[in-house]
């Protein structure tokens, strides 16, 4: 069972991505609506993992859209074959994979779109949708059996 805050830092999902919040006047917005992604010198960060980078408040890393979700995907590591299909398809880079090993979901950025479940090729699927309030342990205990081929 994954940690709900898998790989998270203090900054990840810090503020709600929502219209009408933190508004500022014309004299405070950035020139040309150009937005820097990082704090400080970012010269040598290409090889660093997300949680090792110092994202700026303009970067979506620091925002969360968790509240947009009504259903959440749950990851079952026992069935997963690390094919990376979910990682490729996720529109919000919310699949956390390290060294081609699927570790779980970034629940700060997942909007619950279900694409990962759709594209999962295993039998049974390694990702399934559960209601938002279901805890991960209960969800995993309800995992279906492998579907038998019809003879």
């Amino acid at each position: 069972m994954q940690d709900p805050k898998l790989c998270a830092t203090e900054k990840r999902g810090l503020h709600e991505l929502e219209a009408g919040k933190d508004l500022m006047g014309w004299d405070e917005v950035t020139q040309g609506s150009v937005l820097p992604s990082f704090e400080g010198d970012a010269s040598n960060i290409a090889h660093l993992k997300q949680e090792e980078r110092d994202y700026s408040h303009f970067n979506s890393y620091t925002a969360t859209v968790a509240s947009w979700r009504v259903q959440k995907p749950v990851f079952n590591i026992d069935v997963c074959i690390d094919c990376q299909n979910c990682w490729v398809w996720c529109p919000d880079t919310s699949i956390i994979s390290r060294d081609k090993q699927m570790l779980g979901i970034d629940y700060d950025h997942c909007k619950g779109c279900e694409v990962c479940v759709e594209v999962c090729p295993t039998n049974p699927k390694s990702l399934l949708m559960f209601s938002e309030q279901e805890d991960l342990e209960t969800a995993l205990s309800q995992w279906p059996e492998k579907k038998k081929k019809e003879k």
Partner: protein, 410 residues
């Protein structure tokens, strides 16, 4: 190391060649272009300078003017000194990206060789394309001859790239009339020109890997307005920088530019307000009027954007009758230039009489005699104390007299 280009102290250049030499001397890094008449030689010559080793730059061939300006946006966001040229239909196709360039605060320099917009198809000079870009958030300079097309192109880089401006700049010259008329041009040496323009000091450049940035963010109703207001403030605030750059240019060239040029206006009773080569032709007419005892003068915005609302009032508030000349088909309104001048003059105590002439469309010759006829009508207005003609008239048009609206003053 770039090859040395031989220049004489006095050259005979047309406006296109003059502008292309300014591009070479400013050492433009990237020019992305889709050449179009009558601006073709500007980009063609830049390409030749690159190919022949006179400049270390990149000529990017693209599939349309939309792509040309898009490539300029990319190169400018990357941090390069970027310029291109276009006209007419090409300008029209660029318009979408012009707004992107100014919104992203990219200091691109665009040489616009003004040409009429189809239909009917026409390759000659009028200001329809320039008007199409007037709300695009670009600073707009107007050259009245080849020398100015060169001088203002050099000034354009220095204004655009100034950190308190960071806005794209257009330099307008009249298609064929300026672009293809060879005249005496006195260029700066390569050293003097480059020392004046200086190296570009990029801002938010995408090739700065220590500070990755996002360009082209989406801003809906809760942010867009603030960004556009900030951009408008920036172009309004570019005035002192423009004046500073003109003053610095005068020091090295002896040639003085002002946001609004005035000729014989000290005691003028009647005035023509115009753009482009018409300004100079009208000066010839004004001198002839003065020989007849009629106090005529000429007023011309050198900087069309930011619009010199202040200096227009200063120049014209004591004139009795003003003719504003629009070289663009107004499409169902008074001329746009007329409206802007009128708005400025409405806030003066004496509110001079202001009339509108549509003229010179599709390159129709504007002769000295045409300007004299306009001055004579202004003189009649000044004497009567009200506008004696239709408020909007057409100058140099064949067929029955065409005019619209009459004054309610008497």
């Amino acid at each position: 190391m770039a090859e040395k280009f031989d220049l004489n102290e006095r050259e005979v250049w047309d406006g296109n060649y003059a502008a292309s030499q300014a591009m070479r001397q400013a050492k433009v890094d990237v020019m992305a272009a889709y050449p179009i008449t009558p601006s073709t030689p500007i980009v063609e010559n830049y390409g030749a300078y690159v190919a022949n080793g006179y400049i270390d730059g990149e000529f990017v061939m693209v599939e349309s003017e939309h792509a040309a300006m898009s490539a300029c946006v990319g190169a400018s966001a990357a941090g390069g000194r970027v310029a291109t040229a276009t006209s007419s239909q090409g300008f029209a196709l660029m318009v979408e990206v012009l707004y992107q360039a100014s919104g992203m605060r990219l200091p691109i320099v665009l040489n616009v060789v003004n040409r009429a917009l189809a239909s009917p198809l026409n390759v000659r000079g009028d200001h329809a394309d320039m008007y199409l870009g007037r709300d695009a958030g670009w600073i707009q300079f107007g050259a009245f001859n080849s020398q100015e097309a060169y001088d203002l192109a050099l000034c354009a880089f220095k204004v655009a790239e100034n950190h308190s401006v960071r806005l794209p700049v257009m330099i307008h010259q009249d298609g064929f009339i300026t672009s293809h008329t060879a005249q005496n041009v006195y260029p700066l040496t390569d050293e003097a020109a480059y020392n004046f323009v200086g190296d570009i000091d990029p801002v938010d450049d995408m090739l700065d890997f220590s500070r990755p940035v996002t360009y082209g963010a989406q801003t809906e109703e809760d942010w867009h307005f603030e960004h556009k207001a900030k951009q408008h403030k920036a172009i309004m605030d570019s005035v002192p920088v423009i004046e500073e750059v003109f003053a610095e240019f005068e020091k090295i060239s002896g040639r003085k530019y002002k946001r609004v040029e005035t000729y014989m206006m000290e005691d003028a009773e009647v005035a023509i307000v115009a753009l482009g080569t018409t300004v100079e032709t009208s000066r010839v007419a004004a001198m002839k009027m003065r020989e007849q005892g009629i106090k005529a003068g000429v007023v011309a915005p050198r900087v069309f954007r930011p619009f010199p609302f202040d200096l227009i009032r200063d120049a014209l508030e004591n004139v009795k009758s003003v003719a504003v000349l629009d070289r663009s088909s107004p499409g169902g309104a008074m001329g746009a230039f007329y409206n802007e001048i009128s708005a400025a003059l409405y806030t003066t105590p004496k509110r001079p009489l202001v009339t509108n002439y549509i003229y010179g469309l599709g390159g129709r010759d504007f002769a000295v005699q045409d300007a004299i006829d306009i001055y004579n009508e202004q003189k009649a207005n000044a004497d009567a104390g009200y506008i004696t003609t239709d408020i909007q008239q057409f100058s140099g048009l064949r067929g029955p007299k065409l005019g619209f609206f009459q004054t309610k003053r008497s």
